[in-house]
Amino acid sequence: MAVASRTPPKKRDWSWRSQAFRGLLYQILAVAVIGGAVWFLAHNTVENMRVRGIKSGFDFLFQPAGFDIGEPLFGYDSNNPYWKAFLVGVGNTLRVAIIGIILTTILGTLIGVGRFSRNGLVRGLCYAYVEFFRNIPVLLQLLMWYLLFTELLPDISEAKQVGSVFLSKGGLTYPAPVWVSGHAWMFAGLIAALVAVWFYRRWAHRQFEATGKQPGTFWGSVAVILLLTVGGWFIGGSPTEMRVPVKGEFAVEGGASFTPEFLAVLFGLTLYTAAFVAEVVRSGIASVPRGQSEAAQAIGLSRGQEMQKVLLPQALRVIIPPMTNQYLNLTKNSSLAVAIGYPDVVSISNTALNQTGRAVECIAIIMLVYLTTSLSTSFFMNWYNAKSAIKER
């Protein structure tokens, strides 16, 4: 048999007809155009700043900020440098984002599961909730909550009281324990308990793999956690002192409190995002084939067991990627706090920008903070997603 004698044409043929050559050319062109545009903009910026006498650089971070912040997470006053103000802002952003993510997950999951309830009223309410909250801009919702918390609630002197919790225009005041070193023992106990529970559950899982019998771990875990935490508390000298708020003549004094700004941001973000989370959960559950649900009923599981043991674990794989997006959206939307004066990182950058005129630096700080948060969250969720994906051979 004749062997094909012609060699295939060389791939790298430096002519206009070679794909490789054209590809290279296009890339060089694209990089040149983008690079040129960036250079042009940067050049203009430097020129403009020189002409207008705007200083640049991050040295302003070490100057005293000169403004107060409504609710610092840690000791801060107006003499502190800018970098500390930014740190307070980042802390406030993270605080509202983390609490919001936890609450929105709980609420959203309940509503998403509620869409499958056997009760028509529950189904209808969950549907109405989702359609109402996701079709109204989140900024508008924040503004409305802010209006509620600052103008429609009673004055501080007539605060609504439930037990030792006060709700008024001044925010939500609640009793909080006085922090003493004894509490450190309690937390040490709690951490030790969590580690112990982790090992206990791993042992239980191994036992299940080996023998096929599933030892119940729930009550055991609860017992370990309670025992070690309370034990730690006793070792620490059982501190019981609380800061209980008391209604004075003009203000509610003592205790810990949430400001109206914080509450407005938290409520707005949580309720808005919960509508989207509910949709994510609903579509995740709907993606589990109907046979799974029927099989669960056939072996006599209750509706709750069916949801918990059969539907949710399978739905979770579909749910996690869009859920990550919702968490990131909530974090990014927390930047709207600037509209109602909650001192998050955007709000503080905005103040710093107006005081120092360093627009480029302040906006760069905002973007850096959010990019870091977004990218690290996606990395974590990708890792978790890979872990919970179906193990296939």
Binding site: M49, R118, L121, L140, M144, L147, A359, V360
Partner: protein
């Protein structure tokens, strides 16, 4: 001989329970199990407790009097008079009062065109022409002329800083989605390109924009953009914000389009290559027509979220619907206590638009999926 079998009739089985009609539905859906019955009772009690209170406030004791003192009288519920008094300001913002017919007509034309574009019967090349005419008419009506030319209609000039309210919301969202679309297609193709430099440029763009909040992009458009321009060149705030929103929307839309591109089987590209089509021919004739059809619902969702996100331009002081509400109420001591009624008014406007669009998106998704059901 076999025993004689005497026929004995068995009693008839009872008729099956009725499963249709109101009563069986109630029995099944409201009182199916004891848990269900309990939730029905609790929810029902809450509804009975609060719905009449709300209706009482919103309708029965409400007033439409445009006298602020009448609203403050005891026992009066919602003061819709605040809306009656302020609705022109809320809807049209700071646009000159006598000229407000212009944004009204311009917005009606644009809305008509949006509705027309949603109807299948009109999907043809004429839409492009229709939109060109619509946009030209919009700017002539709003600005008084088209980029300073064509001011033959004798309309007075209204600069963009006076534009506001609903016309601005609709224009910003429509225009930014239209401008973002071609950019999104190019970026989505770029992210799937074999050329590493182009792929990484597109990836960096998309991830960078998606990683930061819209507000930081708007801050950039508002504070940094003037620094970017050469000496002596100033660009209108509205235009800068429009560019910002467009760049933002394009990154999100690019991901939607990329999803559509990925959903196509590889065989399509290979088949196109085997009949000798070039890269651009393949994309234009084979890949994009199929991919774009599947992403229409996704793009519709982009449109809804951009429509809601335009409310953020308030923060960089453009008075669209949310901003013009602030304009109407924040500095008016008489009507300030009735801000809530104003909020409910714009909530209703946003809700009507977004809900209609999300219904349409569902319909079009069903249309798109029809072709896959064969």
């Amino acid at each position: 001989m076999a025993e004689t079998i005497i026929f004995q009739s068995k009693p008839a089985r009872p008729a099956p329970n009725r499963t249709e009609g109101l009563l069986p539905w109630i029995k099944l859906n409201l009182f199916g199990t004891w848990q269900s019955a309990l939730s029905t009772v609790i929810i029902g009690a809450l509804l009975v407790l609060y719905v009449p209170q709300f209706l009482n406030w919103a309708i029965f004791t409400s007033t439409t009097s445009t006298n602020a003192d009448a609203c403050r009288a005891a026992g009066v519920g919602a003061c819709w008079g605040a809306v009656v008094e302020k609705y022109r300001l809320i809807i049209f913002g700071r646009y000159p009062f006598e000229e407000q017919w212009r944004p009204l007509v311009a917005t009606l034309i644009m809305l008509t065109m949006l509705v027309v574009s949603c109807i299948r019967y009109f999907w043809s090349k004429w839409l492009v022409l229709g939109w060109t005419v619509t946009l030209a008419a919009y700017f002539i009506l709003m600005y008084g002329s088209l980029f300073g030319y064509l001011d033959v209609f004798g309309l007075s000039k209204v600069t963009t800083d006076r534009w506001g309210g609903l016309p601005l919301t609709i224009m910003l969202s429509t225009l930014s989605i239209m401008l973002a679309f071609p950019l999104a297609v190019v970026v989505a193709l770029g992210r799937r390109s074999h050329l590493p430099a182009i792929r990484s440029l597109c990836t960096v763009y998309v991830e960078l924009i998606r990683g930061v909040p819209l507000i930081s992009v708007l801050f950039m458009a508002s504070f940094m953009f003037p620094l970017f321009m050469p000496q002596g060149v100033t660009i209108d705030t509205l235009l800068r914000v429009l560019v910002g929103i467009t760049l933002f929307a394009a990154a999100y839309m690019a991901e939607v389009v990329r999803g559509g591109l990925q959903s196509l089987p590889k065989g399509q590209t290979e088949a196109a290559a085997s009949i000798g089509l070039s890269y651009w021919q393949t994309q234009r004739k084979i890949i994009l027509p199929q991919a774009l059809a599947t992403v229409i619902p996704g793009i519709m969702n982009n449109f809804i979220s951009i429509f809601k996100d335009t409310s953020l331009v308030t923060i960089v002081s453009l008075y669209e619907l949310t901003g013009s509400h602030g304009l109407a109420f924040n500095s008016d001591a008489d009507w300030r206590p009735f801000k809530l009624e104003g909020y409910l008014f714009i909530v209703a406007i946003y809700f009507v638009f977004c809900f209609a669009m999300s219904r349409y998106s569902l319909w079009i998704e069903a249309q798109v999926n029809k072709s896959k059901l064969r």
